[in-house]
Amino acid sequence: MKKKGLYQLKKSDNKIKEYTLSVLTEDKAGLLNHITIIFNRRKMNINSLNVSTTEVKGVSRFTIVVESSKEKIIKIVNHINKLIDVLAAFLYEEDEIYYQEIALYKLSTKIFLKGDLVEKIIIRKYGAKILKIEKDHIIIQKTGTKVGTQKLYDELKKFGEILEFARSGRVALSKKKRKTINFIKKLEKTKSNKLNI
C-alpha cells in the first residue's frame, strides 16, 4: 500500500528541481499550520500553496510547489505523511502532473485606445480573456503556467501600467488513472492499524 509509503533515496538525488506535492488530508482546522511548520523547520521556502476541497466530502487537497533536491523534499514528504490527519502525500516532478495557475491583471481601460492590438495579444496569442470592463479599469484573466502568465504580464506592461496583478497557487492532478474515493476506501480497509503478532 502506497499510503504513508516509503520513498527511498538514490545517489543522484541532490539536483535542485521543481517539485509538486499533492497532499490529501482530512478537512481539519490547523493542518495548514502543521504542514507549513515542517517546511519552516527545514528552512525550505514554499513557492506556491493551494488548499481546496476535493470530490470526496471531508477530504482536502494541499498542492505545494517547491524548489529542492529530491533528498531534502523526500524527508519533508515523509514527515508530512507522519501527520495523523494526513491521508497521503504524493511527490511529483513536472512531467507527472497536469497543472495550472490562474492570473488576474487589472489595467486602465485606456489601454483599449491602442486598438485591436490588445485583443490580438490577449485573446489570440495568450488565450486569455477579458473578465470585466469597467469605466476606468479592465480585468484580464489567464490560466496557464507561471511562465505563460508572466509572459503576458511582461507584454501587457508595454501598453501601460498594470494597476494590480495577482497569481494563484498551482493546482495539479496526477497523470495516473486514480480515483480519490477508491484510494481512500483502500486506506480504510488496510490492516496496518493493528499489530499482527
Binding site: Q8, N78, N81, V86, I184, K194
Partner: protein
C-alpha cells in the same frame, strides 16, 4: 440515558482507557475536571506535583517503566506552557502520554482572556497529535483517539485542550474505543522480501554488529532480540535509550554506543561489514561525523517510523516494521552462526578501556570519590536490578556507563532532548509505575535545582525513591567541554550550592552526606536498604572528566581515551 457533565465524561473516558494514575496541577480553567475527579478518588490516584514540569516528567517516568500511557493534567496558560518541555522530551524520546489542559471558555478564545494561551499552536511541533475540544459531545471520541494515537506505532505525546464550557456542559456519555483512523497507519505491513534480503546479508557478513535502540523496549522485543543474536552469534551494542533491553552480562553484549560510550562498539562500528540497527534513529551523539560512520558496512535498518529511514544514514535494506515483528520474521530464516573471533576483538577493546579508564575510576584513584566509583558500588549492591533514572550531564553518562543493567525498562533518562531537571520527577513517576522495584535517581548538583520542588511531592506521598546527588559543585559536563575545547575558560559553570541536606531536612526526607571513601560501602547499603525516600548527597571529585569521548562532530574512530 442520564446526562453527565463533560468534565465527568472526561474522567469516565480515562477510566475506560484503564487510567489509574494522573499527575497534575489544578487551576481555573481545569477546575470542573478536578471537581469531577473528587468523586473518583477511589479509582484514580492523582498525584499533586509542585510544578507542571514535574507532573509531565513524572508521567514520562511512569510510562517508561510500565509501558502504559502516562497522563497529566494542567490548567490553561502558564499551566499548559509549563508542560511544553516535557512534551518535547516525550516526543523526541517516543514516550506515550496524554496531556489534558484546561482552556478558557470557547467564546473567549482569541481574545487574550485571562490565562489564555494558544497551547494548540505552541505544542503543534512537539506533539504526535493535538486537538482542542470545544463541545462536550466530542470528549469520548477524542479521548479514545488520543490514547490510540499515543500508544500505537511509534509512541508519542498527545495534547488535548478542553475549553471550560465543554467541561461544564452536559452530554450523553457512551464510550467506544478507537480501533482505527483512516489517515493513520501505525503498523506498517511487513515486506517479506526485505526480510529475505536482510537475512542474506546477515548470513554472509563476517563482522556484523547489532545496534539496539529503544524501539526494542517499546515493542517488547527483548526476547526475540536475544534469540536473534544467539542464533546468528552477532554482537549487540546499545544506544543510550536502548540500555537495559539486553542484560549487560549477556555473552554477546559488547557495550554502550556514542559520545561517552564504550571504546569497542564505537571504533568497531567502522570495522563492521554489516550494521543491523533496530529501533534506533542514528542520533548525532551515536554517529559522530556521518560521513565517517560505518564506512565499511552495509546497513539494515529495522524501524517502525518510515520518516526515520534514510533520514541520517542511507540504508541497504530498510525494514519498515515493528521491531518484534521483524525479528520474529528474521529468526525464522537466518542461519545459525557464530562470530567468536569478532566478539573477542571487542573484548580486547574492553581490556584497553579498563586499563586506561575504568580501573582508575572505580578503584579509588582520585582523592575524592569519583562518580564512577559510586555508581559501580550501587550496581554491584543492587546486582543491576534497579531502575536507574538519570538527569543530564556527567553523572548521566557515568551512570549509563557503569550501571550494569540486568532487567529491561530500567534505564529512564532524557536522551533526545537532554532535559536537566528530568530525573527527580521522572523517578517519582517510575516508582509509582513500578512500586515493587528499586528506583534510584542519579542527579547532578545542577540538575536537582531545576526541579527540586518535587521533594515536596515525594514527601507528601511517601514515594520511596532513592535520590543520589553526584555533587561536583559544577555544571560538570559544560565544564568538561570548557576544559577540553574552550581553553579551560570556565565561563559560568561553577556553583555555590545550597546545603542540600538541610533543604532535604526541610522537606522531611531522610538524607545523608557522603564524602569519605571508607564510608562508601556502609552508606550505600543503608541508602538502598532503607524503606522509603532517601536522599544521598555525595561529594565527588570536582574536575573529573568523562572518558572515553568522541569529540562533537568527529568520527567515532577518533574516540579519545584521555
Amino acid at each position: 440515558m442520564k446526562k453527565i457533565l463533560g468534565s465527568e465524561a472526561l474522567i469516565k473516558s480515562l477510566l475506560e482507557e484503564g487510567v489509574d494514575t494522573i499527575f497534575g496541577y489544578p487551576g481555573g480553567a481545569i477546575m470542573p475536571i478536578y471537581d469531577s475527579l473528587y468523586s473518583y478518588q477511589d479509582k484514580i490516584n492523582h498525584i499533586l506535583t509542585r510544578h507542571e514540569q514535574g507532573a509531565i516528567h513524572a508521567a514520562q517516568g511512569y510510562s517508561r517503566v510500565s509501558g502504559k500511557v502516562g497522563v497529566c493534567f494542567a490548567t490553561s496558560g502558564p499551566g499548559a506552557t509549563n508542560l511544553i518541555t516535557g512534551i518535547a522530551d516525550a516526543q523526541i524520546d517516543s514516550t506515550p502520554l496524554v496531556c489534558i489542559t484546561g482552556q478558557v471558555p470557547s467564546q473567549l478564545l482569541g481574545t487574550d482572556a485571562f490565562q489564555e494561551s494558544d497551547v494548540i499552536g505552541i505544542s503543534m511541533p512537539v506533539t504526535k497529535w493535538n486537538y482542542q475540544i470545544t463541545s462536550s459531545d466530542e470528549i469520548g471520541e477524542i479521548i479514545s483517539k488520543a490514547f490510540y494515537i499515543a500508544r500505537s506505532g511509534r509512541p508519542g505525546p498527545v495534547l488535548i485542550d478542553i475549553t471550560k464550557d465543554a467541561q461544564f456542559s452536559e452530554v450523553d456519555f457512551n464510550y467506544k474505543k478507537c480501533e482505527r483512523i483512516r489517515s493513520y497507519h501505525p503498523y506498517p505491513i511487513i515486506n517479506d522480501k526485505k526480510i529475505k534480503k536482510a537475512s542474506k546479508l546477515i548470513n554472509k557478513a563476517k563482522k556484523p554488529l547489532i545496534l539496539v535502540g529503544q524501539g526494542v523496549l517499546l515493542s517488547n522485543a527483548e526476547n526475540e532480540l536475544i534469540k536473534f543474536s544467539e542464533i546468528t552469534g552477532i554482537p549487540l551494542a546499545s544506544t543510550l535509550l536502548g540500555l537495559s533491553a539486553v542484560s549487560c552480562d549477556h555473552k554477546n553484549y559488547v557495550g554502550y554506543l556514542g559520545m561517552h560510550g564504550n571504546y569497542g562498539p564505537n571504533v568497531k562500528t567502522n570495522e563492521a561489514d554489516l550494521i543491523i540497527a533496530i529501533g534506533m534513529r542514528f542520533d548525532d551523539r551515536v554517529t559522530g561525523d556521518t560521513s565517517k560512520y560505518a564506512v565499511n558496512a552495509k546497513i539494515i535498518h529495522i524501524e517502525i517510523d518510515p520518516s526515520e529511514i534514510d533520514k541520517i544514514i542511507k540504508t541497504d535494506v530498510a525494514i519498515n516494521a515493528d521491531a518484534k515483528e521483524a525479528l520474529i520474521g528474521l529468526n525464522k530464516i537466518v542461519q545459525k552462526n557464530s562470530h567468536e573471533e569478532w566478539i573477542n576483538e571487542f573484548r580486547e577493546c574492553d581490556k584497553l578501556e579498563f586499563d586506561k579508564i575504568i580501573n582508575k575510576e572505580i578503584n579509588g584513584f582520585y582523592d575524592k570519590l569519583s562518580m564512577a566509583e559510586v555508581i559501580h558500588k550501587i550496581s554491584e549492591f543492587t546486582q543491576g536490578k534497579s531502575i536507574i533514572v538519570t538527569d543530564v550531564g556527567q553523572h548521566q553518562m557515568v551512570a549509563s556507563r557503569y550501571y550494569k543493567f540486568t532487567e529491561p525498562n530500567s534505564n529512564i533518562t532524557s536522551g533526545g532532548l537532554g532535559t536537566m531537571g528530568f530525573a527527580l520527577p521522572a523517578a517519582m513517576g517510575s516508582k509509582i509505575g513500578n512500586p515493587n522495584r528499586e528506583v534510584i535517581a542519579v542527579i547532578g548538583d545542577g540538575g536537582i535545582q531545576m526541579t527540586i520542588q518535587e521533594l515536596a511531592t515525594i514527601s507528601q506521598y511517601s514515594i520511596g525513591v532513592k535520590i543520589l546527588i553526584l555533587n561536583n559543585n559544577f555544571l560538570g559536563m559544560v565544564r568538561q567541554w570548557q576544559e577540553l575545547f574552550f581553553d579551560n575558560r570556565y565561563s559560568f559553570t561553577e556553583m555555590k550550592n545550597p546545603n542540600f541536606n538541610k533543604i532535604t531536612d526541610g522537606y522531611r526526607i531522610k538524607n545523608k552526606k557522603l564524602e569519605k571513601r571508607e564510608d562508601l560501602d556502609k552508606v550505600i547499603k543503608e541508602f538502598i536498604e532503607f524503606d522509603g525516600p532517601y536522599l544521598l548527597n555525595v561529594i565527588v571529585e570536582k574536575e573529573e572528566n568523562v572518558f572515553p569521548m568522541v569529540p562533537s562532530g568527529e568520527s567515532v574512530s577518533n574516540i579519545r581515551l584521555e
